[in-house]
Amino acid sequence: MFAFLLRRFGQAVIVMLVISLLSFSIQDQLGDPLRELVGQSVSEEIREQLRDKMGLNDPYLVQYWRFLKNALQGDLGTSYFFKRPALDVILDKLPATIDLVIAATFWILLFSIPVGIFAAIHPDHWFSKLALSLSILGISIPVFLTAIFLIYLFAVELGWLPSYGRGDTITLFSTWKTSLLTLDGLSHILLPSISLASVILPLFVRLIRSEMMEVLESEYIRFAWAKGLRRRRIWFLHSFKNTLLPVITVGGVQIGIMVAYTILTETVFQWPGMGFMFLEAINRVDTPLIVAYLIVVGLIFVVTNTVVDIIYGLVNPTVTLVGRPT
């Protein structure tokens, strides 16, 4: 058990080191920090002195080591545009993105579990067929198109819901501004969260359905029928519990995918989150902010994947925890 955790943790650290090295190379190549600092009007001599002072003439690895040390202390540089620490800027935008992911996850769980279970139990029912057809349609519509259609229908034509921004927010735990707790905020988050959920929801319906159908055909379920257990008990206790295992692994990966799709959703709805900020940073060539975003997103991906792997290892009795399952 301990070896498994250590191994998984080691891998996470290596991946983060690779990400930081890549990010650092980008910082090294993209833009000139000196020009952002002093502008064009300083003579070449003073530039060279400043360059020495800031350590820009040091060997590559020395500079990387310094970058890494600062990063570990939470210093990812200062944004050229906002004139504030890049990490602070991102942490300001993070709650908006988290709100969006929470709301989308809510839709996904609310619909995918009942529909998936129903479609597995009654594969020939018209509703199951409809759900499957709709899921293919859902997979085939890119997320930004769903968003555009929703905006056109509900914001432009009907004028029921706002098409951009976050609306009123409430501050929770003194740091987290959430729009999930005000009526105005909820009306703003409705369309973006539905668009974001629309990519993942169909995948989940299909995944839960196919995994559960597989479980329903297994020996122990047949035995449970033979034993005369009640239908509900077999479906919801014995079958559904065992479909959850693969759903957890895939679900964990989907959190990472959602972070990627937030960039698209936030752009369409001008949602003031991390993804929207990242695209603006790209357009302004705000290198420290770009690098900080890479590190933060990389960390989110690595942490979720590691946690999911560990949970899977703990929950699944068939995984041999000593080494790789064979």
Partner: protein, 305 residues
């Protein structure tokens, strides 16, 4: 390979195809789209890539049938006065081309790595599969957005537009190799245990020849199934990138760049600039996905999961 029409007609795939209306209709629509986009230079009424061929005075005509339409433009014009029909025909071609070339690159890398990984096994195998796991966890869209964004910021917008097509194909192609590698590896592991592989090994064939001539053909059906999905995914990814302004430039637009361009105008009521390319994009992806689903049901590769 003695391939004949008669043999094709007797195959279960053909039988299932003519009995499946969804698959037939999808195939018909998809081949029509393919055909018109290949023939675009000949059948399109205007050349949308030629800056001198359109006039800003013609901008934002609605499609024929709505009020204020112009007879010259069947599907209306966009904000620059370009004929929508022509831009959509050319754009469909670009989207399909990117989807296909990116998938070929994925297949080439993934199949090579998967074969080697599955056949030689041991440490190399676990190393390669770890890398594949890690790469997959960073979803293609994310990787593509970051690489293209950084590239765009580094070389500037103007030179970026020149290399956009190549960059998109490379990024989507390289980022998705694990899909193929995993499938091929799983197939190789299953095939390796069979007697015919032992037989050719006893004859003394070299491993590379065994891999490519004897094992690879037997992994064909799962590969066909994931290839359809991969083409559809590549097209979606490209559309997303173009929508973010990281894909094809508006001077040589794909369907995604057309949608991005039209998005600014839906608030003022010019719906056709966005919705017509959007419709084509959805139909394109939907037909590929429906065919992929049908193929999966027919070929039923158990290893694919």
């Amino acid at each position: 390979m003695n391939f004949s029409l008669e043999r094709m007609r007797r195959s279960p795939v053909y039988y299932s195809f003519i009995n499946n209306k969804v698959a037939m209709v999808s195939a018909a629509i998809l081949s029509t789209l393919l055909l018109v986009s290949i023939l675009a230079p000949f059948i399109a009424p205007y050349d949308p890539w030629d800056q001198t061929a359109f006039d800003i005075m013609d901008s934002e005509y609605p499609p024929i049938g709505s009020s204020g339409a112009d007879d010259r433009f069947l599907l209306g014009t966009d904000d620059m006065g370009r004929d929508m029909l022509s831009t959509i025909l050319y754009g469909t071609g670009i989207s399909i081309a990117i989807g296909i070339f990116a998938t070929i690159l994925q297949a080439f890398m993934g199949i090579s790595i998967g074969l080697v990984s599955g056949y030689f096994g041991s440490r190399l195998d676990s190393f390669l599969m770890r890398i594949a796991d890690i790469q997959l966890s960073f979803t293609t869209l994310m990787v593509a957005i970051i690489i293209l964004a950084v590239f765009q910021a580094a070389v500037g917008l103007n030179s970026y537009e020149r290399y956009a097509l190549l960059m998109i194909v490379l990024v989507i192609g390289i980022a998705e190799w694990p899909q193929y590698a995993r499938t091929v590896r799983a197939c190789v592991l299953a095939e390796k245990k069979k007697e015919y592989v032992d037989a050719v090994r006893v004859i003394g064939l070299r491993p590379m020849r065994i891999l490519y001539r004897h094992i690879l053909p037997n992994t064909f059906s799962p590969l066909l199934v994931i290839s359809t999905v991969q083409v559809a995914n590549a097209i979606i990814t490209e559309a997303g990138l173009s929508f973010l302004g990281l894909g094809m430039p508006i001077t040589k637009p794909s369907l995604g760049s057309l949608i991005r361009n039209g998005f600014d105008y839906i608030f003022s009521g010019s719906w056709w600039i966005t919705f017509l390319p959007a419709l084509v994009l959805i139909v394109l992806i939907l037909t590929i996905n429906l065919l992929g689903d049908w193929l999966r049901d027919v070929l039923n590769p158990k290893i694919y999961k």
